[in-house]
């Protein structure tokens, strides 16, 4: 097998072919919908939107910054604009039970009509009712009723009084009633006079007074009934005189709501209440103030006792394309324009389901139907509600309230206290509102999977997963789509447009961000940041467009801003505080590569990996794992090495090896198996006692068959080792071994590519551990021949010899031990 050749420079960086761009700047490009390259997600959304059955709400999952929400909302707006506007909703006073406000559903744009109609009606009556009640006819009839009542009552008293006087008895008022007293010469009889009377006479007077008292008691018992009759007559009179005025106006209004029975029923109760309370229209200032003080929020603020008749429109879909009602147009067929697409940025419990506000009056918190405020669910009812899943889950009670509304398909207005049954004070119990809304939640994949796993209701309520990809294949077509996305960002944010060269750099950075030369990232926020920063530099240069140099300057500046940690890391290595050899050969020591990610900074850093072996019981000791610094994936990688060794060498004898592996001078946690190739090389070197070239670093994971598998962060890792070598001076021998599968991910920095072009730095791709061994140990790894043995002098032959020795020694040691016993 021939020694692997280093990769050619053109494989290290995939340039964007800007010749394909036939525009001068991205200003010439049309806007691109954010769903570019998201056909699967788009199909899911189309399906979810079209499916009207319960539970087919949508969870749009994908990486943050991918523009999911913007893309979906733009897509929905297109669909929504072609749909009829949903109903208006309004809360009105329940005159029979004011704590149970009535909800009214009306066609789009109709609630406003009802509200203005009722207000106009009340205003009209403010003028008409006093005029009616001041009329001569009304006064006469009222006096007639009063006279009848007075006569009725007075006659009864007068008759009794006359009867009493005929018997020389008078009727007197007492502080708490009436009393009869015997008279003598027109004055109440004195006790002495009475006592001087004969016994029979005293008894007679006593009996007469007793009878009169019984009669008076009967009259009193009738008084409430007479008073009730009088009130009823007055009420009937009021009804009669006001019905014309009230009824005529209400009939006009009710005509606008033909076919809407709940509205017409409420208008009937409104009419009855107006007639019952026509006194409200004739109050003077003092009476109004007194009534206002008693009436709570109904009299809140300025003197407005007619608040009870107001219509609290909580959802008004009149805006936009609503047309005014036409002749013959009825409430049921009135159609406005467009279903709502609501984005709730702050999805608290009350912002979602609405709230019942209170006002403080005389130290008490009071409320009424007019203080009911709509939530996002109300506004989105009949349309679409877009929510950030993470924010909903962070807000207390919001998630449960949302699920309950979706499950019951109703919006029940409650305070958080009521919801948790924490308070038992009397509050409003408004009618619930039927809910027909499509909720689209946005979140990352982890959140989706967590919810799916932890919340049994989630799957029932969000049956459609719109899985947004974070990458698209990179080709000429996608480059053009990307140009459209960039153009959209520039227009939306009023940024300078990009030249083709600048766009090419952005596309290359997109591939770099995707860690794949053959892909472009769809996480547009980092790319938008890059364009914004390039825009700043372009404006500082007084340029009219963003050029490639501005993009490069933005890339360099961003690296520089985040460079402190990388610089410190490099410094500790170049000052030999962290020991990394980049020249010479050492047995059992290999340069591995890792990536450090801290905030926005992410960079590669070499690590010295060492291995020591001795006879033992076949155990590989992963020192990182022993001290709990190694993660499970790292431990898995080390165990795979054990599998490789035991299956590859001396298969007929026990593996009598004890080995220890360590990341030298590593004081933080390590995870991932990307160092397993380096660890295997270190082990093989230690077993074979053959040195490893220190001018190489290697990254890659190993399987049990010795194949080198792909890893992440390949660009950062290569650049990390390159930076160390460059600081110490490139020798021309140095280089990095990477898995062959990672070649397609290479988007290396310009200086690295330059060094490779100049022959000062090499990058090798390897597919097997044998290739890596040969490169790093400078000697054939060895393949078993037809006799099943490795070639003499090969690395693997020396490893197998060493392992056989360990086994023999182990056997001898065990035999001696038995003899001793």
């Amino acid at each position: 097998m021939s020694k692997p050749e280093p990769l050619s420079p053109d494989l290290l960086y995939s340039h964007c072919d800007i010749s394909q761009f036939e525009f001068d700047t991205t200003a010439d490009m049309p806007d691109a919908l954010g769903l570019t390259g998201q056909e699967r997600a788009l199909e899911a959304i189309e399906f979810g939107v079209a499916m009207t059955r319960t539970g087919y709400n949508i969870f749009a999952l994908g990486p943050s910054g991918a523009g999911k929400r913007e893309a979906v909302s733009r897509f929905l707006e297109k669909i929504a604009s072609s749909k009829p506007a949903p109903n208006d909703w309004a809360y009105v006073n329940n005159f029979a039970s004011p704590n149970k406000p009535i909800v009214l559903r009306m066609g789009a744009g109709r609630a406003g009509l009802l509200s203005t109609g009722v207000n106009a009606l009340v205003d009209d009556l403010k003028g008409a009712i006093p005029a009616i009640l001041e009329s001569e006819e009304y006064k006469k009839r009222l006096m007639s009723i009063d006279a009848e009542y007075s006569q009725h009552q007075g006659q009864a008293f007068e008759t009794l009084r006359l009867r009493a006087e005929a018997k020389n008895i008078t009727l007197l008022s007492t502080p708490s009633g009436f009393a009869f007293a015997p008279l003598r010469e027109g004055e109440v009889m004195k006790p002495d006079e009475f006592n001087k009377m004969p016994e029979e006479e005293r008894e007679r007077i006593k009996n007469i007074i007793g009878e009169l008292e019984q009669e008076l008691a009967r009259i009193f018992q009738h008084v409430p009934g007479w008073e009730k009759d009088r009130r009823e007559q007055v009420r009937e009179l009021n009804r009669e005189v006001s019905e014309n005025a009230v009824g005529r106006s209400i009939r006009d209004l009710a005509g606008l709501f033909e076919g809407n029975e709940p509205v017409r029923t409420w208008l009937d109760t409104l009419e009855a209440d107006l007639v019952e309370n026509i006194g409200l229209f004739t109050l003077d200032g003092e009476e109004e103030a007194a009534l206002q003080a008693q009436s709570g929020p109904l009299g809140m603020g300025s003197v407005d006792l007619f608040r009870r008749y107001q219509v609290n429109v909580i959802v008004d879909n009149r805006a936009g394309q609503t047309r005014e009602p036409e002749n013959g147009n009825t409430d049921s067929d009135f159609i406005g324009g467009g279903a709502p697409v609501i984005i709730e940025e702050h999805p608290t419990f009350t912002n979602l389901i609405g709230r019942i506000e209170h006002v403080s009056q005389m130290g008490a918190l009071l409320t009424d139907f007019g203080l009911i405020k709509a939530g996002a669910l109300h506004r989105a009812n009949g349309g679409y509600l877009l929510l950030d899943a993470n924010r909903v889950l962070r807000e207390p009670l919001a998630w449960d309230a949302l699920k309950r509304a979706l499950r019951t398909k109703r919006i029940a207005l409650e305070t958080p206290g009521d919801y948790l049954s924490l308070v038992s004070t009397v509050s409003l119990e408004p009618d619930t509102i039927p809910l027909d809304v499509k909720v689209i939640l946005f979140g990352d994949r982890m959140l989706y999977y967590l919810l799916a796993d932890a919340d049994p209701e989630f799957g029932d309520l969000f049956k459609v997963a719109a899985d947004f990809d974070d990458q698209i294949d990179r080709d000429n077509e996608s480059d053009l789509l990307y140009a459209g996305l960039v153009a959209t960002i520039c227009r939306k944010e009023d940024l300078l447009h990009l030249t083709p060269a600048a766009l090419g750099r952005v596309i290359e950075e997109s591939a770099r961000y995707a860690e794949d030369a053959e892909k472009l990232t769809l996480e547009m926020e980092p790319m938008a940041d890059l364009i914004r920063e390039a825009d700043l530099y372009a404006r500082q240069d007084a340029a009219s467009t963003i050029d490639a140099s501005h993009v490069q300057k933005a890339v360099d500046a961003r690296l520089s801003r985040n460079d402190r940690l990388r610089e410190r890391s490099l410094e500790t290595i170049t000052r030999d505080i962290i020991m990394i050899d980049t020249e010479g050969e050492v047995v059992g020591q290999v340069n591995g590569l890792s990536v450090l990610s801290l905030g926005q900074a992410s960079f590669g850093r070499p690590s010295r990996i060492s291995a020591r072996v001795r006879m033992g019981g076949g155990h590989l000791v992963d020192i990182e794992r022993e001290v709990d610094l190694g993660g499970p994936l790292h431990s898995k990688g080390v165990m795979i090495l054990s599998g490789f060794l035991s299956a590859h060498f001396a298969t007929s004898i026990p593996l009598s090896l004890s080995a220890s592996l360590v990341f030298e001078q590593s004081y933080g946690g390590i995870d991932g198996d990307s160092a397993s190739a380096a660890e295997l090389i270190a082990l093989l070197s230690s077993l074979s006692k053959l040195p490893v070239a220190q001018h190489f670093a290697i990254t890659g994971s190993i399987n049990q068959f010795g194949q080198v598998q792909a890893i992440g962060g390949v660009n950062d890792k290569i650049e990390g080792f390159f930076d160390i070598c460059a600081r110490r001076g490139l020798t021309g021998d140095q280089g990095v071994l990477i898995p062959h599968a990672n070649v397609k991910h290479l988007m290396l920095r310009r200086d690295v590519v330059d060094a490779v072009e100049r022959g000062m730095f090499d990058i090798f791709s390897v597919e097997t551990i044998e290739e890596a061994v040969e490169l790093m140990m400078g000697r054939e790894a060895g393949y078993r021949n037809e006799r099943g043995v490795f070639p003499d002098g090969s690395v693997f032959e020396r490893v197998e010899v060493q392992l056989t020795k360990f086994a023999q020694t182990q056997r001898a040691f065990n035999a001696g031990d038995r003899e001793k016993r």
Partner: protein, 284 residues
């Protein structure tokens, strides 16, 4: 700063009494705060002292001493009528009435007094009345026979030469037509002019009071002697206050005093037979 007397009409000052009062009946029945407040306003308008008189009915004390004395409550229950309880209730009512007086007087910035007498209702109070006083009676507040009311009015106006203000009945309409009399607010003051010299004098007093209180003044010149005719005319005008000569022909019948009070729908001011122009014009 304008001295109040600078704006006085010299003619009005001629017979201004040194100390005259508005004497308000606050007897055993619940004193109506509205009546007291109205009296306070009148006192303010007339620059008079507000005087309350609570009369404990001696007849009730006599009754309470009888062995079988009992009373029928407003709820229709017959119960023993006891002197101790009666005195407690009087004391409580008098205290309550005095409190209302104090508040009304304070609100109007008036001097005030309050006394409790025992004797015959109305007539005991009249013992405290003097010439040029205004006696405020509430015809609807007791089971006062029309004859007694008429006699009391005659005694006050004819013998004592005081004026009488009838409040209470008719001050508050029924249904939706409540009308609060307020002589300090803009309203209509109607004076009945029966085409006699006394009627003319009555109009002059009324006009002076209307100007002082900032009210609209309407002289109602009529020779009608039928109470129902007068009542019809008054209802059309919807006055806030009616002033009429106490010796007008329409009061020939005893019960017409009470009936006019009801028919007017507002307080009725009965001008005493010898009352002169005593009003003072000041800045409203």
């Amino acid at each position: 700063m304008v001295n109040e007397t600078d704006k006085q009409n010299p003619g009005d000052l001629a017979d201004l009494p040194v100390d005259h009062k508005i004497l308000v009946e606050a007897d055993t029945l619940t004193p109506e705060p509205q009546a007291i407040q109205f009296a306070a306003r009148m006192a303010g308008a007339l620059q008079a002292r507000l005087a309350g008189c609570f009369v404990e009915n001696q007849a009730l004390m006599d009754l309470a001493a009888l062995p079988f004395a009992s009373e029928v409550s407003f709820g229709g229950t017959v119960k023993p009528f006891q002197r101790e309880r009666l005195e407690r209730e009087w004391a409580a009512q008098a205290k309550q009435a005095e409190t209302v007086f104090a508040a009304a007087a304070a609100a109007a910035g008036l001097a005030w007094s309050f006394e409790v007498r025992r004797g015959k209702p109305i007539f005991s109070m009249l013992e405290a009345a003097a010439r040029e006083d205004v006696v405020v009676l509430n015809p609807g507040a007791r089971l006062t026979p029309a004859g007694d009311l008429a006699r009391a009015v005659r005694a006050a106006t004819g013998e004592i030469h005081a004026d009488v203000l009838l409040t209470g009945r008719g001050m508050r309409g029924e249904g939706g037509t409540r009308r609060t009399p307020d002589v300090t607010a803009r309203g209509t003051l109607v004076a009945l002019d029966d085409m006699t010299s006394r009627g003319e004098a009555c109009c002059a007093v009324a006009q002076s009071l209307a100007e002082r209180a900032g009210m609209n003044f309407i002289p109602l010149r009529t020779s009608a002697s039928s109470l129902s005719d007068v009542a019809d005319l008054l209802r059309q005008l919807a006055p806030s206050l009616v002033i009429v000569d106490a010796n007008a022909a329409i009061f020939a019948q005893d019960d017409n005093v009470a009936r006019l009070s009801t028919a007017a729908g507002c307080p009725v001011y009965l001008l005493g037979s010898e009352r002169k122009l005593t009003l003072v014009s000041v800045t409203p």
